[in-house]
């Protein structure tokens, strides 16, 4: 019991959890609307897309890199998918859109992977470059415009409900989307991958000490390459979900979300220096940010404050972990 308490208080996730609880209680006290069925479902709904992106961002951060290209990558992959299917008048099942998006996401991810695994330049700068190329291809070469009518299968997937929650007081209803299962599924797969495969452990090892990983016999370049392919695939899935849920393809809708996603993952305790972090943290960090953004209306703060509050959250969150880190470092210098 003591060991568990000790372990808990040492983990970042625990504190994020406490903050979430405290925040929920405050919002509930101010608005009385937080712990209502439809609000909770709304929050779950809003978590799906950033959560999926967060899983990818998490994997890259653990390996010691950073990826800011996933919004552009996934927008391009899903725009191309939707364009092709709509132009062909596709009326078939859902598997084809998914297959196409995954394929394209993987290919674009491979482009990231090839560059980041072979070029000794910070991944931030490489992915800034690829992000620009991806959105350039989408907006320039593909001449992207809004596509109002997406294939029926996607639309149905986007509006499909697991269940519908109703607020007894206001009568407002909220839909729990089918895609929430997808989030759970991807979480499960990536959890398995990170914990029970050599590939996943290699990602942690590379983030811990890249040259030691090389010496231990990990194929560092190959692992990085496939990591970015995988992250491309996950990002494409996320964008397909977003497009389906919106019922239309809005090519630039996702651009800019990278900030929010990376902030969520870092708040959840994943170190930007690589090697540490957990999927629990990703979920909690995403939850925290979604709560803050969703609940401002509940407590009567105008939406104009959203970006400001996100900025504060990022700075305070990363600041606390930075202070913790430099304290523990000071201690370790002395004991060496």
């Amino acid at each position: 019991m003591k060991a568990i308490v000790h372990k808990l208080t040492r983990s970042n996730e625990f504190y994020v959890f406490l903050v979430i609880v405290a925040l929920s209680v405050v919002i509930q006290a101010r608005s009385g609307q937080f712990f209502t069925a439809n609000n909770l479902v709304d929050i779950a709904n809003a978590m799906v897309v950033p959560g999926l992106f967060g899983i990818g961002a998490f994997m890259v951060l653990v390996s010691g890199g950073i990826d800011v290209s996933f919004p552009a990558l996934s927008s391009l992959a899903v725009y191309a998918t939707t364009r092709v299917l709509v132009d062909a008048g596709y009326e078939g099942a859902l598997w084809l859109p998914f297959l196409l998006a995954i394929l394209l996401g993987g290919i674009l991810g491979a482009f990231n992977g090839l560059l980041t695994s072979r070029i000794a330049i910070p991944a931030l700068i490489i992915t800034l470059g690829t992000a620009s190329v991806f959105s350039g291809i989408m907006q320039g070469a593909l001449n992207s415009v809004q596509i109002p009518n997406i294939p029926t299968a996607m639309k149905e997937f986007g509006t499909g409900a697991l269940f519908i929650a109703t607020n007894p007081d206001s009568g407002l209803t909220s839909t729990m989307p089918v895609s929430f299962l997808l989030l759970v599924g991807v979480l499960a797969v990536v959890f398995f991958l990170m914990k029970f495969t050599t590939f996943g452990r290699a990602i942690y090892a590379i983030g811990g000490d890249e040259s030691a990983a090389e010496r231990a016999g990990f194929k560092v370049k190959r692992v990085k390459f496939w990591l970015y392919v995988l992250v491309g695939v996950i990002a494409a899935i996320a964008a397909l979900v977003r497009t389906s849920m919106m019922g239309q393809m809005h090519p630039t809708n996702l651009l800019g979300i990278e900030l929010l996603v990376i902030a969520a993952v870092v708040l959840g305790g994943t170190a930007i220096t690589g090697g540490t972090g957990s999927l629990t943290g990703v979920v909690l960090g995403t939850l925290l940010i979604v709560i803050v953004q969703n609940s401002m209306i509940l407590v009567g703060i105008p939406t104009f404050w959203q970006r400001f509050s996100l900025g504060v959250l990022i700075i305070v969150g990363t600041g606390i972990s930075a202070i913790q880190l430099s304290r523990s470092r000071k201690r370790s210098i002395v004991t060496v």
């Binding site: 950073i66 560059l115 072979r118 070029i119 000794a120 330049i121 910070p122 931030l124 700068i125 490489i126 800034l128 470059g129 690829t130 992000a131 620009s132 190329v133 991806f134 959105s135 350039g136 291809i137 907006q139 320039g140 070469a141 001449n143 992207s144 194929k219 370049k221 190959r222 900030l259 990376i262 902030a263 870092v266 930007i272 220096t273 104009f304 404050w305 959203q306 970006r307 400001f308 509050s309 996100l310 900025g311 504060v312 990022i314 700075i315 990363t318 600041g319 930075a322 202070i323 880190l325 430099s326």
Partner: protein, 344 residues
Amino acid sequence: MSVFSTASVRMRALAKDPQVTRLAVILALLLIFFAAVRTPSFVRLSTWQSMAVQFPEFGLMALGVMLTMIIGGIDLSVVAIANMTGIGAAVIMLSIAPPGSDPSQAVPAILAAVAFSLVAGALAGMFNGFLVAKIKIPAILVTLGTFELFTGIAVIITQGKPISGLPTQYSEVFAAKLGGIVPMQLVMFALVVVVIWFLMSRTALGTKLYLLGTNPTAAEFSGLNTVSLTVRTYMLSGIFSAVAGLVMLANYNSAKADYGSTYTLLAVLIVVLGGVNPNGGSGRLAGTVLAVIVLQVLSSLLNTFPDISNFYRPLIYGGVLLLVIVMNQWYKPGNFARFFTRKG
């Protein structure tokens, strides 16, 4: 950039710098191509004037990013600082000299606005520097966070709407053409370049910043005040961004929280293209300035081809950035082959 050499040695060193040479060659080729393919627009003064009006916006931000990258950091908040300070300046101008007010109000209004924007830019940069140097948050996270924060402040002030109706005197001054030829925007950019050149090569600050970027631990152990140096660097970046904000205010005659959204990438691209090492410690002002000009000429050249959509621009910018990075890798001996050997 060395402390010791005489002017001639410095010129030779500059010519020897492969990145600067490469950029000069690229620029020359671009200009020749421009002159050959689009002769009428190449010989027109207005082509060059419109370039000189435009590039100071992102050029000034790039200069700030350059300084932070030389000390091993990065500043991704430049666009947000420009917008926030520009909005602040606009609000002040309008409150002192609202539309329809006496023209004599304009001068104090403009002075107050300019002063405010520079001070606000310095404070915003100081805040970045404080978080990087004192709290020790990685610069990427700090400036991503303050990008949101400053943009957030801008959104709150403007409620997301553009602010316009500035006193006409403002753009008469800041968008003026000196002698009917030289745009004021270019003059402001040139002034900042001279200030940076002066700081980096004529004062001890330059040497210290390069050393700090080369090895922060050794800088600490050599008795350099690394916290103050870092804060001052981000402060300079904030001030230059505020100047960029003033230029944008003059160019658009309005201010808005999301102007210049592509400039973050552009500024980083310019700095890397200009030969600044993203890990800190090296990079030349001349390289960055050349890179700014190369990109502007490229962009204006593209404009003369109406078939090429404006949206191709990010593709081209990103492509150039990646190309430069890959080429730099190749220049290291032996790396060319390694790039193509799969697996390992």
